[in-house]
Symmetry: C2
């Protein structure tokens, strides 16, 4: 049953000297848990354990280990011994691992692989990781439509523990062109003499091999699929994307979104925080920060051009941060909502007018509330501030909170529009997020603020 | 094959008058697509279409429709007719729909349901939506261990198109206590006379019914499961969470994270942007904005207590926004990275010292780059600014950029620590995100800024 990781580690520790019990341990838990425990030990222990597992399980457990641990283990093993583990890895993690080897290491390993494995690995590694080809697996079963259900069942029986025969059988013609699929259940429910061609389902959802992995994930999600066939432009079946790969894609995209959102340059894969060096973290963050600092020049120029006004009414300078912050927050909220709604396909760029109108009304309500708070804040904070005789605090507070309210409306609308504009021009809307919004609406905020100030106070 | 939504709509429109062709259309596409097309039409058309579908398909198509459309259709139909659709809905979406009815509507519907359906619905609706119970389905098959494989296969044959018999058969004792499971493949591969008790897998991953849905999703993801059994504290099998429900949970959690992240009060479910009223959007956003505005009082007080210094050196006032913005951006980045690493379980709260040390080093590099940019900015922007005779621009620029550098370091460390602190006290780290960070580091930024200014310039 379910034991905690630390308990399993203790259990393994306690049986380590007893080969029979180690064997029992290695067979009792799911592959991923065995991998978790083994990778705490040195390569010698891992290898000893592998020696008493059957080859399938070696490949499956190795598939589940951390990439760094995999690479380390690989380096210490003879290529010949390693090739037998490699053969039995899951095809998608095998290709992923292969891509992490240096060219020399790849070249050293290839001669020890059987022809089919070598071909499979080379083909799969050739697809970009953010496409259907990059996440698909080649572990699947194809049958010809002229075979019978009896044959299909026999085939399944003889497949044993093979990874290939899982949920569906794919029906292809002699050129590997996909014609349809059959669930195991349907095969079992049919008379054994029925030919597959009489029962297979010829309406199916598929992806093209170069389709974006997010599209692929969207299809699996929409149609509640366990497996999605991947075709090339001729309609030939190249691979299958399974539900678990899709969950991984969604997690990756989530991380990528968050990173873009906060002005961090996203990577191709989820990097482990601990395994990324200080320099690596620095590089992912400095680009946006520096770009925004340069963009901030515009705000600086605006502030400086009203230097004189600020010298006369120093109180104006003191509320610039308040207006800027509130605008940034309101704008980021609006951007978040629109980016999510775009991602969930609740909105399209073509709806922009409707979105702007809705956001403007929401912003109006927000502006009322925040304007009143700002009015109170100015009165309270500046109650004892010395003002030039021709100015009075109530009117100044009114002007400042009016500017803040207008800024809330402007930045909400800008925040909602920026992701739409980025998407319109083919970019990822998540880029138009928090830091970009903050810096953009700083500019509108300053213009509104000084505009109102010049109009009312000078 | 794959046609676009608009094409399917056109196709349906063109066959609408031909009952035979409508029937063909309704059987050709996946349920979710039929639901998408039908919900564009009025209830009369939907009902006409339902009349020519078999009951199973009616329930499945209805399950896939939008909640608002479902409720509308329900209101216009006799309860008796509706009950026959209701019986065949997927058990999890059925419970979800039932929860959306008013108490009166629920009471009006219940008498028309058969006893089993009524019980199922009432039980499932009782579980909180963010637990395993709230997302599980009761569509699954249980068998007793003393049955044979032959019996299991016969059972599957007679189940027809039923939703219950999908990937696994669960083995329970007479008290519904889960003992293990069997895949369809394993049953087929075994000799028909083998008893299930001799072949079932008794090591299995499960969730308790009150377990958080995020934990459930984590298990399905970690172990690459298609279905996860849900037990009560006695070990009795109550339901099964399927892979597609998990994808939905991950999407919801993603949206919730993003919302918390940007200071939006998250809801229990993903609300459609269009279906949420202006007032609803307003309510979700105003809470944080108003709270931050009030929190901003502290910044206001700090600025005011240095009013005299600002009056003498107006140039100081002009660079407050630059320092505040840069600090906010750097802090938000650090918070994002830490929140994601926590979510992906790459980091734990106990690692805080390691994290602070790493972030401090990253921040030092960022501070160098941004400090140099700031120095250049001040020189360029303020080149013509009139200064009191005892001050010189180079030294002022040095002080301002020094303050900015220290602020980058401080806010990066604060940004990394806030999520850890929130998590330590049992909160969701995503709350400690962008707006909260910005407002917090505004305070540290002002203290550093005026501290350096008083030290160097006065």
């Amino acid at each position: 049953m379910q034991t905690r990781y630390s308990e399993r580690l203790d259990e393994f520790n306690s049986v380590l000297d007893n080969k029979g019990k180690v064997n029992e341990f290695l067979n009792k838990y799911p592959e991923v848990e065995i991998a978790e425990v083994l990778q705490e030990y040195d390569n010698k222990v891992i290898l000893d354990c592998f020696e008493i597992m059957d080859p399938e399980r070696q490949g499956e457990v190795f598939s589940e280990m951390d990439m760094t641990r995999k690479l380390d283990f690989f380096k210490q093993l003879s290529k010949k011994r390693f090739s037998s583990i490699f053969e039995y890895m899951y095809s998608d993690s095998r290709a992923d691992f292969f891509q992490h080897l240096t060219q020399q290491e790849q070249a050293a390993l290839l001669p020890f692989l059987n022809k089919q494995t070598a071909e499979d690995v080379l083909t799969l590694s050739a697809y970009p990781p953010d496409t259907a080809g990059g996440i698909m697996s080649t572990d699947f079963t194809v049958l010809n439509e002229n075979l019978s259900c009896r044959y299909a069942i026999e085939n399944m029986r003889s497949a044993g523990d093979s990874k290939d025969f899982i949920y569906y059988v794919y029906i292809v013609d002699e050129n590997m062109i996909l014609k349809g699929f059959l669930s195991l259940k349907k095969i079992i429910q049919s008379d054994p003499d029925t030919l597959l061609k009489d029962i297979y389902v010829d309406e199916f959802i598929f992806s093209y091999v170069d389709e974006d992995r997010e599209e692929v994930a969207g299809k699996v999600e929409k149609y509640d699929l366990v497996a999605l066939p991947v075709l090339n432009s001729h309609g030939q079946l190249l691979g299958v994307v399974y539900h678990d790969d899709v969950i991984e894609v969604i997690r990756k995209e989530h991380t990528e979104d968050m990173e873009k959102f906060m002005g961090i340059v996203p990577g191709d894969e989820i990097l482990n925080y601990n395994q990324t060096s200080v320099g690596g973290h620095f590089k992912k963050r400095v680009v946006w920060l520096a770009a925004l600092a340069v963009l901030g020049l515009i705000s600086g120029i605006i502030i400086h051009s009203f230097e004189e006004a600020l010298t006369v009414l120093i109180i104006l300078a003191m509320y610039i941060p308040m207006v800027a912050d509130t605008g940034g927050n309101a704008g980021s909220q609006a951007a978040t909502v629109v980016i999510r709604a775009l991602a969930l396909k609740q909105l399209a760029v073509a709806d922009w007018l409707k979105i702007v109108w809705k956001e403007a009304r929401i912003a109006f309500l927000l502006a009322l509330v925040l304007g009143v708070i700002a009015y109170g804040k100015v009165l309270w904070l500046s109650w004892n501030t010395a003002l030039p005789p021709e100015h009075n605090l109530y009117f100044l507070a009114f002007g400042i909170s009016l500017a803040l309210s207008l800024q809330v409306i402007t930045s909400t609308v800008v925040g909602a529009c920026l992701p739409l504009i980025v998407k319109k021009f083919g970019g990822d809307p998540a880029v138009a997020a928090s830091p970009a919004i903050t810096t953009t609406v700083d500019i509108t905020g300053l213009l509104i603020y000084f505009g109102i100030a010049m109009l009312l106070f000078f």
